[in-house]
Amino acid sequence: MSAAEKTAGSAPTRSRPIVGWGVHDGLVVARRNLIQTVRVPELLFFSLVQPVIFVLLFAFVFGGAIPIPGADPGSAPDTSVYRQYLMPGIFGQTVAFAAAASTVGLAEDMHRGLIDRFRSLPMSTGAVLFGRTFADAARQILVLIVLGITGYLVGWRINDGVFNATLAFILLLFFAYTVAWVGSWIGLYMPNPETANTAGLVWLFPLTFLSNAFVPITSMPDWLQPIAQWNPISSLVLATRDLFGNPTGIIGDAWPQQNPVLYTLISCAVLIAIFAPLSIRRYRRTTAR
């Protein structure tokens, strides 16, 4: 037995960073979650299959039947216009689905008992959630690249310069980060990963379809239009259509439609302000199940 072994609890620690341990711990957890992406390429592959199928379905099957008032040159729907219109919608829907990854990831961490271990460590409280949301948003960079290429192949183009396009992608990633917090909060209530697989997705389908992602809001019944106009997905999609220089169709009078970038940023800020504290609060009481 060495002297070091006798004095248990004597392992040398690092000096505390000026900003505290939060950022360090969050990055350690994020690195772990990103390594997971590399180790299980199947997961990434299948998370790409769905949006790619959507691109192909809407571009070649539904697109011809969906008119975009104010954008189609003639009276009949124009598929090349629709494909330009479609891609920002696909981007918006895809980043929204980042939430499901957070839900399932946290449910798995609870199921495997990892949450117990993390909570028994002297690490900063929010780090598991900050790391999770950061990694789930960062993963979307790769997803957006693959989707962008798919879009290019079916005729989508960036028409308003690299700078605005970059802003559009940043907005999309910020939105992914936001919904990852909502997904995390849901994940912490899941009894098992199987339930999380379903519950992580169910709310996302109505949320993304009750928007301008695939069809113009003007084509919806009157009572539904305000909901779609105030849906943050609609403002996100409209903002990115603007920034990519893609057709927007007729823009509604509602404030979110008139100020899509601002409304998207406010929505994200409000959602994070609600769901980050809620999630952290829940995390502090969570144990493995």
């Binding site: 037995m1 070091a4 072994e5 006798k6 248990a8 609890g9 004597s10 392992a11 040398p12 620690t13 690092r14 505390r16 341990w21 360090h24 711990d25 350690v28 957890v29 690195r31 772990r32 390594i35 997971q36 180790r39 299980v40 495997r112 008992g113 990892l114 117990d116 271990r117 993390f118 909570r119 028994s120 460590l121 002297p122 690490m123 780090a127 009481r285 144990t287 493995a288």
Partner: protein, 316 residues
Amino acid sequence: MVAVIEAHGLVKKFGDVVALDGLDLVVPEGTVVGLLGPNGAGKTTAVRILTTLLKPDTGNATVAGFDVVRQPNKVRGVIGLTGQYAAVDEYLTGRENLRMFGDLYHLKASYVRERSLELLERFDLADAADRSLRTYSGGMRRRLDLAASLIAKPSILFLDEPTTGLDPRSRLGLWEVITDLVAEGTTVLLTTQYLEEADQLAEEIVVIDHGRVIAKGTSDTLKDDVGGDRIEVVLTDRGLLERAAALLAPVATGEIVTDHEEARVAVPVTGGSASLIDAIRRLDSEGIDIADVVLRRPTLDDVFLTLTGHVAEDES
């Protein structure tokens, strides 16, 4: 001896279910205390409170002198926890797992590297160090899990059913590791539903049921409380049972029990092997054939049955 874990009157309810009902516990420095009880007795709840994962409804507890409710991060800095699950990341390699937990303990990177190597070798995982955990067996995961809880050299280790679900060989391996740790001065609180495990590892056993302590002591004192040794003789001819019982009466220190079905006589004794030899001579001198004979110490199973009225593995 200094108590490093102390709990007084811990109560924890989940809705209508009372998980802990006034639990008191003291673990002296450098010892292994085994918390023994059936499923649902409150073992895991007790460990979760002591490791700061849950807050008690009432009562208080300190670990290494730190209050588990008011100073949770101080407690977390000195403990290691190995739960019922192999709480390690499935997709990372063994080495990456240890690095992650070392980083989260805020340990120096160079130290984490050396310590990881040392632990991987010690737990017979050096060859698998750079493989993803998806290729690990259940026993390997448990060993890595234990290694992860040792990365910061904690002075106090909580082991919540560490061998549940392991095959006998892996279980023996883990027992060896735990025994070594204690020899190095680590204080261990172990929960188990396996009586044999508590018997093997723990110096003091605390038996809990329905969230409260119903008995404590060393394995031997608990067994003595239940009763001393017992000679059990099985005869080839069950017709001779009554005669055998009469012959053995002078050896007995209590009531002799005969079991006609099994052709068995059970005789409580105090003299150990001397009384066994005596008993065999008495039967032999009368020409009574013996099919089987044993001198039995009471097992913890007997202890448990006597104390709780049900066997340890019972769900109730």
